[in-house]
């Protein structure tokens, strides 16, 4: 929504509002802008955002059929209609829903479809409470949530009891039966919110986006800018308090790690900054939790710019910089210079993140790492951002101890560098994340475009639902929180420090809603 000025003022609840006004919402892909393979997921999100279940299913079946003049032969399962049929492995409006077989004009389309193991193939009972929309949250110093059946914080063990969570002045002050707090709630006039199936998780982190660096992607005056060959620091370009960041916060994404662009969106150059999406300015206490989170360079096709006209040039430059840093006898005078940061990279104390999709570029990164380690005799901390073809090198990445932040989680070969993307069942056996996890690679989910920030929880859900049991719920949530910090060797501001989210429903499932967000502020945003 923040990609152009004309897209800036919009609402994810538009489908519901249109429907309430007697108009017909239809969801589409604009393929290849979105991968049309997942257009039914657009309808699913519409349902999550308040469009009634039947209207959401209609939005990608009967409504477009009718609007195209094919209302009598497409969109319905009725005698006389074209034999265009899909059998799904789960409710089509559920997270990760995948066809098991597809028929067009009576002919089955997949000879040997890959099937995912889904223990729960039952259809949903539509949740009518999703029709209640709360656009703006209340800001509360004190609030109590009851009915929290799932506390998914790392380090806590699961219980089957419903628990109470008490928030006071920026911190959780109780998780459990919290009898005392409940008793004093009415006299202290603390709101008590009863959840049916509450979830408590760490808040999420948005990695590798331009959140915090621009407000509208296509509008240069709102943007930190492209750095080209200059090595700059994300903290020096931080621009806070805009619609993107407010929305991220409301979706439970209270932390961001963003690096300046190299040449356009999806490229990175310089150091990234770890910051709070809810901060007003960077001088606020704790607004920046990691001044220089990692060193970033870009090795995709956009690297061919300015002085460096080829990928081989970009790889050579990277290796030269690291080897020169390794050969330095004394630390550079300017601790904010590229040399100073590279000195930390080569001694293993600062992570190096390379933006690359192509397996060939990734292979080059592993080679450069090996070459530099031969000189430094110290292990480098390296991660790949992007990683569409990383699955081809899953074993090599695991052996080298290199992690991958997938951006997008589900690549679909938009560019040549991504051409060997695994698009998943029924066509391919697993997607990139499945192969990486099987090899033991540490994986995180990053953003290829900023608007995706609202979907981070659902993307973790796709990895969970379609992972065939590879991930537990906590591990799936870790893809958009803890794992990113593990890869970078950083400390994450967690629930204990006042960064957490309370959901009604499972954040990995479509029917969930954010009920409360705590992002390091004294007040909690409560919906």
């Amino acid at each position: 929504m923040w990609y152009k000025a004309e897209a800036y003022w919009a609402s994810e609840h538009a489908g519901k509002y249109l429907y309430d006004n007697g108009l017909t919402p239809i969801y589409v892909s604009d393929n290849p802008v979105l991968n049309a393979q997942h257009v039914v997921f657009e309808a699913a999100k519409a349902y999550k955002n308040g469009l009634p279940y039947h209207a959401a299913l209609a939005s990608v079946t009967t409504a477009p059929a009718y609007r195209l003049g094919f209302g009598k032969r497409l969109g319905k399962v009725k005698p006389g209609y074209d034999a265009d049929i899909v059998v799904w492995d789960s409710d089509p409006l559920s997270v990760g829903a995948t066809p098991v077989q597809v028929w067009i004009d009576g002919t089955a389309q997949f000879e040997h479809p890959v099937k995912l193991e889904k223990p729960d193939a039952k259809v949903m009972v539509p949740d009518e409470s999703l029709a209640q929309i709360v656009e703006e949250p209340k800001l509360l110093d004190e609030v109590i949530f009851t009915g929290v059946s799932n506390v998914l914080l790392p380090g806590t063990s699961s219980t089957s009891e419903q628990q109470t969570v008490v928030f006071s002045n920026g911190k959780i002050t109780c998780i459990g039966s919290c009898v005392q707090h409940l008793d004093t709630a009415s006299s202290s006039r603390t709101p008590v919110i009863k959840l049916r199936n509450g979830y408590l998780t760490n808040s999420f982190t948005v990695f590798g986006s331009t959140l915090g660096l621009n407000a509208i992607d296509a509008e240069a005056t709102t943007d930190n800018g492209d750095t080209g060959g200059s090595f700059t620091r994300g903290e020096d370009g931080l621009r806070l308090d805009d619609l993107k960041l407010h929305t991220a916060y409301q979706y439970g994404v209270t932390k961001g790690i963003s690096a300046p662009k190299f040449a356009g969106g999806g490229t990175h150059h310089g150091t990234s900054v770890g910051f709070l999406t809810g901060a007003l300015t960077s001088l606020q206490k704790d607004a920046v939790f990691a001044s220089d989170a990692a060193v970033h360079y870009t090795l995709d096709q956009k690297a061919k710019t300015g002085d460096v006209q080829s990928i081989s040039g970009a790889v050579g430059t990277l290796r030269r910089k690291l080897i020169e840093a390794a050969a330095l006898k004394e630390s550079p005078a300017d601790v904010y210079s590229e040399s100073a940061f590279l000195a930390k990279v080569v001694n293993g104390s600062l992570a190096l993140v390379i933006t690359a999709h192509s397996a060939d570029s990734i292979a080059s990164v592993i080679k450069v790492k090996t070459a530099v380690e031969a000189v430094t005799k110290t292990k480098l901390r390296v991660a790949i951002f992007g990683g569409a073809e990383s699955w081809l090198l899953a074993k090599e990445l695991a052996d080298a101890g290199v992690g991958v932040i997938l951006a997008p989680l589900l690549a679909y070969a938009v560019e040549w560098d991504q051409r060997r993307s695994l698009t998943g069942a029924p066509l391919t056996n697993g997607t990139a994340i499945d192969h990486l996890l099987d090899a033991g690679v540490t994986v995180g989910i990053g953003l290829e475009e900023d608007w995706v920030v609202r979907n981070l929880g659902l993307l973790a859900g796709v990895a969970y639902q379609n992972g065939g049991g590879r991930l537990s719920e906590k591990e799936a949530l870790g893809l958009v929180s803890g794992n990113l910090y593990k890869l970078l060797g950083l400390e994450q501001p967690r629930a204990e420090e006042g960064h957490f989210v309370v959901f009604e429903g499972n954040p990995l499932e479509i029917g969930s809603r954010v009920k409360g967000v705590a992002g390091g502020k004294r007040e909690m945003s409560v919906f």
Binding site: P32, H54, R67, L68, Y81, D82, V87, G106, P126
Partner: protein, 384 residues
């Protein structure tokens, strides 16, 4: 004496008349015969033009569903399929549900059913269909209770015209040489072996509207395809026409776009526009003005020629440049327009009323929810 003068008068009058008649015949534009009219036009060609007139006046209708013996795509010899034990979403509420209730979602439910496909059509949907009720060579597919829906329809796709991975050589979604190109057709740039067509199908999408891009205010004609390419997918042949969802092409489709893209692509200050939304409205209106003139000239010709071929002073005005926009004005084309913002929406809706054409759908339409009353003012939008 008087009788002789009278006779002389009559003779001179007759002679004068004969002379006049002869003169009239000699100076006629053309001698009329079986092959050409008095204006020298080919009668055969004029009759062809008259049949074009009836095509121009033809009312486009939604193609039927029930009542067909077979799907036009069905190939003889293909076996029927019985899908057993699925949980089916029919797509309409149970019989007897009022419109008001249906709008609220009442009457819609998932039902356990078997689904029988024959001759490329859905033949029967019933709680249980026995093997004895179906053809001998029926393929049985066990759905094991899994959810079953109609194929997903994506009404805004550039699959095939913007193949991925994107390469300059296969990028054919925008005719970016000129802002107003209602005459180009997405089908002419469609690559049936864009792998993405298969990937999209793997997500359950069986039908897509393949549109030209949004660089142009008037992008061109669009086409509805099914994601089945060639014999392995059950087609007759590998071709683009064989992928069309409706081989009879009962309806045509068109793409237009408002807003940031056209002015960014074309606006060159001091040279040409559109450089602003104001210019875009002008481009739209100017094009519709010309198409309206084109349609009127055609209608005038058709009316005159229908009354008698000799009335035609020339052949039926036909120009490919305005043919498709004319067809839109004649309500034979379903128009889809990409507009995001309130000025775009309101301006376009005004165009629909100024030139009396139907808009079927706004695409992207981010701000439509803010202006539902404006949306409803669209020329006959609600009952299309």
């Amino acid at each position: 004496m008087r009788r002789t003068r009278a006779l002389r008068f009559i003779a001179i009058t007759c002679l004068a008349f004969i002379a006049f008649a002869q003169w009239k015949q000699i100076s006629a534009p053309h001698p009329s015969n079986a092959e050409t009219t008095i204006h020298g036009l080919s009668i055969e060609r004029l009759q062809d033009d008259l049949s074009v007139c009836s095509k121009l006046r033809k009312k486009a209708e939604d193609p039927i569903g029930l009542g067909r013996e077979r799907n036009a795509r069905y190939l003889d010899g293909h076996a029927p399929t019985l899908i057993k034990n699925a949980t089916v979403w029919v797509g309409e509420p149970v019989a007897g549900t009022s419109e008001e209730d249906a709008r609220k979602g009442k009457g819609y439910e998932w039902v356990r059913a078997d689904v029988y496909l024959e001759y490329g059509l859905i033949k029967k949907v019933a709680p249980s269909i026995a093997m004895g009720q179906v053809a001998d060579n029926t393929i049985v597919y066990k759905a094991h209770g899994r959810p079953l829906t109609a194929g997903i329809i994506d009404m805004h796709s550039h699959a095939g015209v913007g193949s991925i991975p994107s390469l300059r050589g296969t990028e054919d979604s925008n005719e970016a040489s000129s802002d107003i190109t209602p005459y180009v057709r997405s089908i002419d740039g469609f690559h049936p072996y864009d792998h993405q067509i298969e990937v999209i199908k793997s997500g359950g999408v069986t039908t897509s509207l393949v549109l030209p891009g949004s660089a142009n205010n008037m992008g061109g004609e669009a086409f509805v395809i099914k994601h089945a390419t060639g014999k392995p997918d059950g087609r007759n042949e590998t071709s683009i026409v064989d992928m069309l969802a409706d081989p009879d092409r009962n309806w045509r489709f068109m793409k237009m776009a408002c807003g940031e893209n056209p002015k960014r692509v074309y606006g060159k200050h001091g040279e040409h526009g559109p450089a602003s939304r104001m210019g875009e409205s002008w481009e739209f209106r100017h094009a519709f003005e010309q198409a309206t003139k084109y349609v009127r000239e055609q209608d005038d010709w058709c009316d005159a020629a229908a009354a008698g071929l000799q009335n035609a002073k020339g052949y039926l005005p036909q120009e490919i440049r305005w043919e498709s926009l004319g067809a839109l004005l004649r309500d034979q084309v379903r128009l889809n327009t990409h507009c995001y913002t309130i000025p775009d929406l309101e301006a376009f809706i005004e165009h629909t009323n100024e030139f009396k054409f139907k808009l079927r759908a706004f695409h992207h339409a981010h701000q439509t929810y803010m202006v539902p009353e404006v949306s409803r003012r669209c020329f006959v939008l609600r009952d299309v």
